[in-house]
């Protein structure tokens, strides 16, 4: 089986699964859905493994789609180490999450159950298309389809009004990003006359910087929207209306990392477009801090994790923004491990608590749900960045590289912001852990004795816990320039080698940040409510810095007014009237014409004779002329 076929199979398996389930899965017994839904994702994973072990790479063209003048759009897949890396994450972690959701969604009825897996398979397919595409057009196709899948999955429980509103919000913001992507592609095509990655990257050195800056900024808009960075971030917390596996897969491990992938893939452009590149780093750092502060006051466990995701992706943007591409992708991998772990463990708790998500009503779960609690602790420590978990290695590597980047004041600034964020991360993570799992059970608990999660829900969590623990061994650069650096080496052919070497100061910084963060983690158990001192701060954080209100006032209300005017002022009086009145006119015409049908025989004969008179006149005139 050639690499070319394998690459196509990676895409075809999820699509086939989706179509099969959408076509017949509704009516067949549940076991069918259980096998096909996750099964196709694992089949894809096997294909990716085959490509990975065979060290495959190449630009495979399958067919030529558009050929029009200088616009030549083929359907091609680019297999290099970066795309294989992303596919491993998507299919591997995705496979675990889809398997987990077999148990989580068991309470749905059969058609909804199948529908869920249809949507998940569509999502996996879209995400794979996004990372495998070899040209901008199919990148955008995958991009848009991922947004669609997100909409479908957030609004999965469509009878719930809040879910529908959240899905719509996510979709609209994603579309803003899509527009940026499309415009960026246009700019690139107009100036570089190429649409495939190889064509574009070859033409970059010969192109004017201004155009590249513009294209890079436009593409950045897309990345910001998809990855929920400032200012297009408001949809991510609301997206928690979807089922927990959806939050784990889409809003933690894969879709929101598409922006990071984009910047990494476009690194030849961003290396040249320094202003846009700097913007990436600044946006990432600011978002990281911003999101971490909001996470402090959240009471819904999934919201804390959502803001945490926003913050960690800020770290990834920070990394690729300063040029440490491989470090950013390593954090992507480790974040996929521990964030999916956290979401799924939280899902175990939510499932046992009969869909209660308010942390204030938890408490004391350590004693009652031991395996889940341990997994959650592993994930939390990874998030804070404690040795030996993988989060330490990836996050501290980023901070160390930011600190040690030579001749770059921007990197230093973002390092300061990143370090502050790490400390706050320790605090909110600790708060989340102590409130939910320690202490005495809250009197408002909905369930006295939560049931243990089923095997299909516990095993993926366990696997991820193990990965989060040992994953650090992949790359121990954070502790010095010894030890394996598998991720760097693997990605070097795709994103370039590490551009600068750190020194022992990196390690010191990293370790000290870890110590401070851990201290805050532990202290979170005992810190008094500080909101009594600064109530305005509490309010501002609870209102998420009033972003939703500002957007509502500046965008939503004017659009509502315009739409209302269009409805009442244009649609109804003009267009509706034109259509309806045409019908009325026809009816009135017919009514008046039907008066000639009097029913009297003699009238008809009269008309007859009248016609004969007319004919005679015509004949006479004809004859006489």
């Amino acid at each position: 089986m050639t690499n070319q076929t394998l690459a196509l199979l990676i895409l075809l398996f999820p699509v086939a699964g989706a179509i099969l389930l959408a076509g017949r899965g509704w009516r067949l017994p549940r076991i069918f859905t259980v096998i096909i839904g996750p099964g196709v994702v694992w089949a894809s994973f096997v294909c990716v493994l085959a490509l990975f072990s065979g060290k495959a790479h190449g630009d495979f063209t399958y067919w030529s789609w558009i050929k029009s003048g200088s616009l030549d759009v083929p359907f091609n897949l680019l297999i290099d180490n970066l795309s294989i890396f992303m596919c491993l994450v998507i299919t591997g972690v995705g496979g675990l999450i889809v398997t987990y959701s077999v148990g989580y969604m068991e309470r749905e009825d059969d058609p909804s159950y199948a529908r869920f897996f249809v949507y998940m398979d569509i999502f996996i397919f879209s995400m794979l298309l996004l990372v495998l595409a070899g040209n901008f057009i199919f990148l955008i196709v995958g991009w848009a389809m991922v947004g669609l899948s997100s909409y479908l999955l957030i609004g999965f429980w469509y009878q719930r009004h809040s879910a529908v509103v959240a899905a719509r919000k996510a979709f609209v913001m994603n579309v803003i990003g899509d527009v940026g992507m499309i415009l960026g592609t246009f700019v690139l095509f107009v100036n570089l006359h190429a649409i495939t990655y190889s064509g574009v990257f070859q033409a970059v050195p010969h192109t004017d910087n201004g155009n590249l800056e513009l294209a890079a900024c436009l593409l950045l808009v897309g990345a910001v929207a998809k990855s929920a960075q400032l200012p297009l971030h408001t949809w991510l917390p609301d997206a928690m209306e979807g089922p927990t596996p959806v939050s784990a897969l889409i809003h933690a491990a894969t879709m929101v990392t598409a922006g990071v992938y984009l910047v990494g893939r476009m690194y030849p452009i961003y290396d040249v477009a320094v202003y846009a590149h700097g913007a990436v780093a600044i946006i990432g750092a600011v978002t990281a801090l911003f999101a971490a502060t909001i996470a402090i006051v959240q009471t819904d466990i999934k919201r804390v994790l959502a803001y945490s995701t926003m913050s960690q992706i800020g770290y990834m943007f920070l990394a690729v923004g300063i040029g440490a591409y491989a470090a950013g992708f390593f954090h992507l991998l480790s974040h996929a491990f521990f964030k999916a772990l956290l979401f799924m463990a939280a899902g175990n708790v939510i499932h046992a608590m009969h869909d209660e998500q308010d942390m204030r009503k938890y408490g004391g779960l350590w004693g009652q749900m031991r395996p889940t609690s341990i997994s959650f602790l592993v994930g939390s420590l990874s998030l804070v960045g404690v040795i030996p978990f993988v989060g330490f290695f990836s996050k501290e590597q980023i901070l160390g590289l930011a600190f040690s980047k030579p001749n770059d004041s921007l990197a230093l600034i973002v390092w300061i912001i990143g370090a502050a964020t790490a400390l706050i991360t320790g605090f909110y993570t600790g708060r989340m852990w102590w409130m939910s799992f320690w202490g005495k059970p809250s009197p408002q608990r909905p369930v006295e004795h939560p049931h243990a999660p089923s095997l299909v829900m516990m095993v993926p969590v366990g696997i991820l816990a193990v990965l989060a623990t040992v994953g650090g061994l992949l790359q121990t650069r954070a502790l010095g320039s010894f030890g394996p650096s598998l991720v760097n080496d693997f990605l070097a052919p795709a994103v370039g080698p590490l551009r600068w070497e750190g020194d022992w100061s990196e390690v010191v910084i990293g370790l000290s940040t870890m110590v401070l963060a851990t201290a805050l983690f532990l202290a979170a158990m005992r810190i008094r409510p500080w909101s009594a001192y600064v109530p305005w701060a509490q309010r501002m954080l609870e209102r998420k810095y009033y972003f939703d209100e500002i957007y509502d006032a500046s965008f939503v209300r004017p659009m509502d007014a315009v739409a209302g005017f269009a409805l009442r002022g244009i649609e109804e009086p003009v267009i509706d009237a034109a259509v309806v009145d045409t019908g009325l006119l026809a009816r009135a015409g017919a009514a008046s014409l039907s008066l000639t049908q009097s029913g009297y025989f003699r009238n008809y004969v009269l008309v007859f004779v009248g016609g004969a008179v007319v004919a005679a006149v015509i004949l006479l005139l004809r004859a006489s002329s």
């Binding site: 039907s594 049908q597 009097s598 029913g599 009297y600 025989f601 003699r602 004969v605 009269l606 004779v609």
Partner: protein, 109 residues
């Protein structure tokens, strides 16, 4: 101008045609004005007779037998039509008191 040699004297063809036209007009008036269905049928017969006269006139004028043969056919058809028309008429008006063609106006609108 064409005259026909009839019994030694010359009569203008147009006189016959004028007679035919007058009879035709009379028949048309009958169809339009009278309300008794029988009278309407009779007026139609009158119109057909006028047409026959025109046919025979032209046959004589052109010295071609076709006109008279056509007139024969026309008579046959008139007979058949009168038969069927009368049968229908009898069927409709047998049970009514007055015979008025204006009563049959169900197909209005």
């Amino acid at each position: 101008m064409s005259t026909l040699n009839i019994g030694g004297s010359q009569i203008d063809t147009s006189w016959f045609l004028l007679l035919s036209a007058v009879l035709f007009i009379l028949g048309t008036t009958g169809v339009l004005v009278r309300r008794n269905p029988l009278v309407i049928l009779i007026s139609i017969e009158l119109m057909m007779n006028a047409a026959n006269l025109a046919l025979v006139t032209f046959s004589r004028q052109l010295q071609n037998m076709d006109g008279q043969l056509f007139a024969l056919m026309s008579m046959t058809v008139a007979a058949a039509e009168a038969v069927v028309g009368l049968a229908i008429l009898v069927d409709i008006f047998r049970t009514r008191d007055a015979e008025d063609v204006d009563d049959l106006s169900e197909l209005r609108g």
